[in-house]
Symmetry: D2
Subunit: 484 residues, 4 copies
């Protein structure tokens, strides 16, 4: 298995990454991207920490000691353990998800299931390829990113209808050795700090879109692969602010991931033109990944619960009816996420062909929808408790100047017995969540792992209405008895 | 065990019940209250139906064959079974809960736990009394009602502060044989058609309120006990409308239950002045009963899901984005209730003293709150799908007049291939839900088993914030490491 | 002008009306429809009441003394007066709108504007016809209904695409004398008690739908016209309940209005095939009618504000934070409606061709949307204040039985100093609003005058984005200066 | 009147301002606070710009040429003009309010009314003092800040109950020449760049709090006055980003404003111990200032409407039902604010004693509440339209590197015919609104000009329920006729 050092070294591989218009020589040393590396490396650190080792490391009968993230779920308990692994590591990351092995394993589980299905129908050999890739990843304890969302261009058009055919990643050449792919993917979380990039289609495809039905994996330093990182405001902001630990320690990066005619050898190709199965993959991956999302969002929500309660206490408004309501709305958010996450595990089923345990799709999407739709409202409640200082709090530097500190220690005190600096730091974190982290959290909570509309569509389509309709017909007197 | 006949006969016991200003001689024969009896009797009918027997009847090692409602939960599976028993019988009751053994068992479980606690602290013998009562109820398969909510008078005053001391039920006399109680309780569901009425306090009490800290059980025909039933619009409306099955078959009644100096012998008294424990009982009963509520509300929501989907299909709007959203909001409501109900069972814990399995209080209250706060919104979405005909639909009688039917069969058709009468009956049920059943459903969904504010208060108080605060302090940089 | 007697007599004209499967000989004498007549006749009563005469009667320079409802608005003040006329008569109708001259005048205003436009483009003579009709209506102070919403059949198909061509009202024959129309319209409010029925298209039409582009007026007793009234639960319920005044006095009826080959002479035809203008009419009428809707909904909301506050006071919860919030949500609803209604008047513009003052379309739709989307939430807040008794309140008959009244006068008391009967009657009205009136109010508030989606579509299309986009481009730095 | 130069020079007056722990010599030259100065100075620039002069400058019969902000409203039209002045200057400030004369005039109007009232009751001479101050301000065209919100300490305690008596600003000494005040105020917008600071109480006071009932004005360089500015993230962020114009041009600052025994001569003291009138002032100022707030928030909302629509168009999702809904929610927000703002002007009334026109308090608070409660939801809708790029958009610097631009110009294109850079800049502004501006906007929109709970309380208390209750009693049958 990796340790932190081996992971750091692995990143110095000539990959092409840009940050704010500059080419980045080594992401691990970079002043901003270095934070994304540091956050990812926590997984490797914890693997070697006695306190967390049991949770982070799994003794696989076949592969030996591997990361718990790479343990293939085969029963309800495995999914519950996976939920808690993600929930707890999110808490250990101060509320920031650690995606570096979670998303890759989500994709691998989905690819294993899909590959088995395609092979059984079409006589292909995808399962062996993805299994081999899985073995390589698990045994080497690699860091993975998944690139799914295409740039999309005009969203009202299908891939093959776009004026620029590259708006979705597609195969531009096939040869005996492999395929050549072109296009770009948006929002690749931790792409610039991963070892391997897994690519899967973003949607179901039609026959005309066959070249867009492509899934594969490439190393982050593959020729022709270029990643443009987003600017890391939270990190930049933290460098200036000793109070803002999260910004220095717990930020992930995201990139636009460009495939400028990247060659992929056949044993790394997991779908290549079988357009009928793009949809299956585009549903199976989100099922695993939205389950993951509910887990990390529960962890993130736990931070908001704690912040809300502390703010209420420090402000001396702990007993106000409207403040109770604010805090309870945050609790409700967290506990509804947890309820749906757990139930998705309890009602999971094993895929008959591979034995991989799949979280319940309906409950997973319900939880996902709750997470998306209510995050901004939760923040509204948090800000309501925090008060105006969430915007107007002085800088931590002001607390270092004795001339100012004379006043700040006096006037920043809240409820009797509280301490001005403690209160200010709690308010400060609230402020960062809605400013430095604002774009990331708001947008991610609304769009990551699929938009609100996507979850509505998925739920509407996949819900089994038979029992409900049976009841409605029975209650309407249109059926004599209940059949289901 | 009872069968339907024995149950019906048991009700002809001289009890004092009023309906619309008239004294009711026998509730079973009464044109409106008879429906409440018929609905309750379904439990006894199903107990003897081969199809449902396994679900409805439990072979208790000690008490022999008893109703599954009276099975004491001793592990997670028991609570899951209980959830499904309530969910399924609600569906079998066309979406209407069947409370007649559910609420009584909720109260008995709570009393057993509380009694054991009081006995262990104060050396009283309440546990034996309630256990004896339980044996009597279970062995005889009785129908029970629970009277908890006092009339309250001025809600800003405590029981002992009211200008009229009887606004909360209280002990007015104690003797060697027992106690005499006075006061009135509101909203006693199925009181007029129950065999026994269990009475418990509605809130925590102070020392000054000691006489109000009283719990007991009396037969429905106890001397001095008088019940004023609410008018049953849904039933009256159904008599006139062959389409409206629910109104004829599946309605429960509610009463104001008056204790005009009712004598209760000591072996039926389960709390009598130990004011410190009124609060425990007032929390323990809702924990069981809100769990029950989540189960029946899931069943009721299932009806709304089915109705919504059928309406969408019959109206030919199945593929409209805003209609999908409407239906998904109803699905979300149902599945969130189910998620919290199930998780409350999965995270239940056995009471150490009695071994009774208690649903998780936090999750139970989260589910309860979701049920309360969102019901009206769910109805908004249902009405949005139904369209204006939910108000302006002709009467079923119009469909019997051939002169009108000529037009109605033509013009009430929706999507091609649908049938005018089928569509109309589905709309008709929607209409009844928001009119004949309107006051009952709206109010019950918002207030039954405790108000929104009550759940907020309970959640705010009982949530364990330690882990969340620990995380917030850690993320704020105020703690070096996460302790929890 | 009419008085009550002349209006009542005018209804005994052989019109074909069905109620619950029975043919109705004279609507004025009918036990249920009679209430709709009584409510409508209030307009005529108030016209002759010194107290209200100034508000209800207008001295027109051309037509002499006419109903204020028929006064053509020609300036902002006229629309403000119209708003208040509707608001106040709604209050005088105990919160129930009095549509009988309001909707007809809305349609006439729209028809005058549209006719002028068509005439100017196509050389037709519609304006004279509708003006002549208007004179007839105004001078005779007639009662009008408007039938707009077609039965629609499969809502995903246009009129000419339906499997049954009659799903939308259309011209089946043209002759020298006039046209023959066939089809049916849903939800015709007060159709069975009106003198004339105005018919207008429900949507924009394409060339293929030309025969569906038809507008006209016919007397309620026209040959071939048949009306099927909805069952009047509120009225039936009131007959049994002395407390429920609204149900006996203030209910309107709605019908399915069937045109079974009804002949319309040319001078009553206001659109006949000019499909390009169906859309104009289908937008212009809602603009006037939604303005009307905002006014009556403000009146209805005023009732809910009063109820909410009284309930809070009688229950002794007037000072609770969550109750304040409940009441304020109702106030907010009312005052937002009033704000948009007034602003739609203040920002109205005169149609250049006719001089008729048109309420601002955007603000009108914003107000309409607020009214639709939030009604159920307002009811939730009302029920939260009312408490469980909104469902379980005894019947008024129970208050007449001395045996029961002994207890009810004692236990139904709320806050000290309040009276049990007064409190009960206030709760009783709340109950009727969510039960007898439930289907009507919920559905009407969500669907009447156009669905939520219809208002969203209209707003999205008709909003003038130029200034807003200019600002966004300027703020983005994409424009040097603000142009608008 | 001032021009930009005179204003800039006026700020170099030795005032004590801290920024991030450093003392600021001259705010106008300061890298971050300079932006707040530049934004404020726009008022002076526009006063001298032919295009805006008519709007910005008013010819007062008594004071000659003064700023339109300082024009005392004496009729409805004046308030409508004032609304539009604030709305338009907010748009001219790219959506950022320009508070520098608006808030000061709000305070002066409130002080004039309150002073007249106190004088008439107590024989004091406050009116002359505040009028003289007003003349000085208006004639010199000064820049003003208002400090109202005290630091508050433990919010559950009154000013005189705090463990530290200085938690609310109060009088510590009175002499023949004036008073000495001590304490601190939070959130003083533009305090560090104003000429004068007006101080008013934050709440009603009791007799025990008499020393806290104090209002006055001091120059920004008054001895003992110290201001700690909040860190300006938006400005810092903009320095690094050529695309982010708003951050460089249109940001205001806020300070904690400390009164360390500041002397105020009597002619600058407007309230000094008359505790009975603190409440009047604490209500009158918000009435004016919330009216101002509705105006600027309408301007800010206009930016969001434009952004939303442009994003929808550039992303090619302009015709999606859920996107229409998103945009319409933003439109609704803006138009509801405008409706309440305008109606508050239309229903304004002149104060009998001073003739100053006061916006309607109820409608003002309704508008305020809508603005507070719905802002986060509006942002949710904006982000839903924007898509994930609102978080993951590359930096403007990436668009300057030709190696990256090759890809970005290709892949950042949206709908056919749109341009990658234009689209990216629009997304970029969206991102800044939820990140650099995130804390400011979220918090201000929820808390500025009073919290949600404050508006609820004010509305609940001040609403005139008489008409509504009259209607509810009439509709309940408890009154024979409507009295109001």
């Amino acid at each position: 298995m990796y340790d932190v050092d081996r992971y750091l070294k692995s990143l110095d591989d000539g990959r092409v990454v840009y940050y704010k218009g500059m080419s980045v020589r080594n992401v691990a040393d970079h002043p901003q991207l270095g934070t994304a590396v540091k956050h990812a490396s926590l997984i490797y650190k914890w693997q070697h920490d006695e306190k967390y080792r049991d949770m982070l490391v799994y003794q696989d009968p076949e592969y030996g000691e591997i990361s718990s993230f790479y343990k293939i779920p085969r029963k309800t308990e495995d999914l519950l353990d996976r939920f808690n692994l993600i929930y707890k590591t999110t808490r250990m990351g101060r509320g920031t998800f650690n995606i570096i092995q979670a998303i890759g394993s989500d994709a691998i589980f989905a690819l294993l299931i899909t590959a088995k299905e395609i092979d059984s129908r079409l006589g292909t050999t995808y399962f062996n390829r993805i299994e081999k890739f899985y073995r390589y990843v698990a045994e080497n304890d690699l860091a993975l990113a998944v690139a799914q969302t295409d740039m999309k261009g005009d969203r009202s058009l299908r891939p093959s209808e776009q004026s620029d055919p590259d708006m979705y990643v597609h195969i531009v050449k096939r040869s005996n050795d492999g395929i050549v792919v072109r296009g770009a993917k948006a929002h690749t979380t931790q792409g610039p700090v991963a070892n391997e990039i897994i690519v899967i289609p973003t949607r179901a495809m039609t026959k005309d879109d066959a070249d867009y039905a492509v899934a594969f994996a490439v190393p982050a330093n593959a020729k022709g692969l270029k990643m443009i990182s987003k600017p890391e405001k939270a990190v930049e902001s933290a460098n200036d602010d000793p109070w803002f630990i999260m910004g220095r320690e717990n930020v992930e990066t995201e990139s636009i991931t460009i495939f400028d005619d990247v060659f992929v050898p056949w044993d790394r190709v997991f779908l290549a033109g079988e357009w009928q199965y793009a949809g299956l993959l585009a549903v199976m991956f989100p099922t695993f990944h939205r389950f993951t999302a509910i887990a990390y969002r529960t962890g993130m929500a736990d931070l908001l619960v704690g912040l809300g309660k502390l703010l209420a206490e420090f402000n001396g408004v702990d007993d106000k009816s409207h403040i109770r309501r604010d805090v309870v709305e945050i609790i409700k958010y967290k506990e509804l996420l947890r309820s749906t996450g757990y139930l998705a595990a309890y009602e999971s089923k094993a895929d008959p062909a591979t034995g991989i345990q799949i979280p319940d799709k309906v409950i997973t999407n319900v939880g996902k929808l709750v997470a998306n739709e209510n995050y901004m409202d939760v923040i509204k409640h948090l800000v309501d408790v925090a008060g105006g200082l969430a915007a107007t709090l002085p800088s931590s530097k002001d607390f270092e100047n004795p001339d100012e500190m004379k006043y700040l220690s006096k006037y920043m005190m809240g409820k009797k017995g509280t301490d001005a600096v403690t209160r200010s730091r709690i308010i400060s974190l609230t402020k960062e969540i809605i400013s430095s982290f604002g774009a990331l959290f708001s947008t991610a909570m609304i769009h990551a792992e699929g938009s609100i509309e996507a979850s509505i569509l998925e739920l509407y389509r996949s819900y089994i209405y038979d029992g409900s309709k049976d009841l409605a017909l029975y209650a309407s007197g249109l059926k004599e008895k209940l059949d289901r």
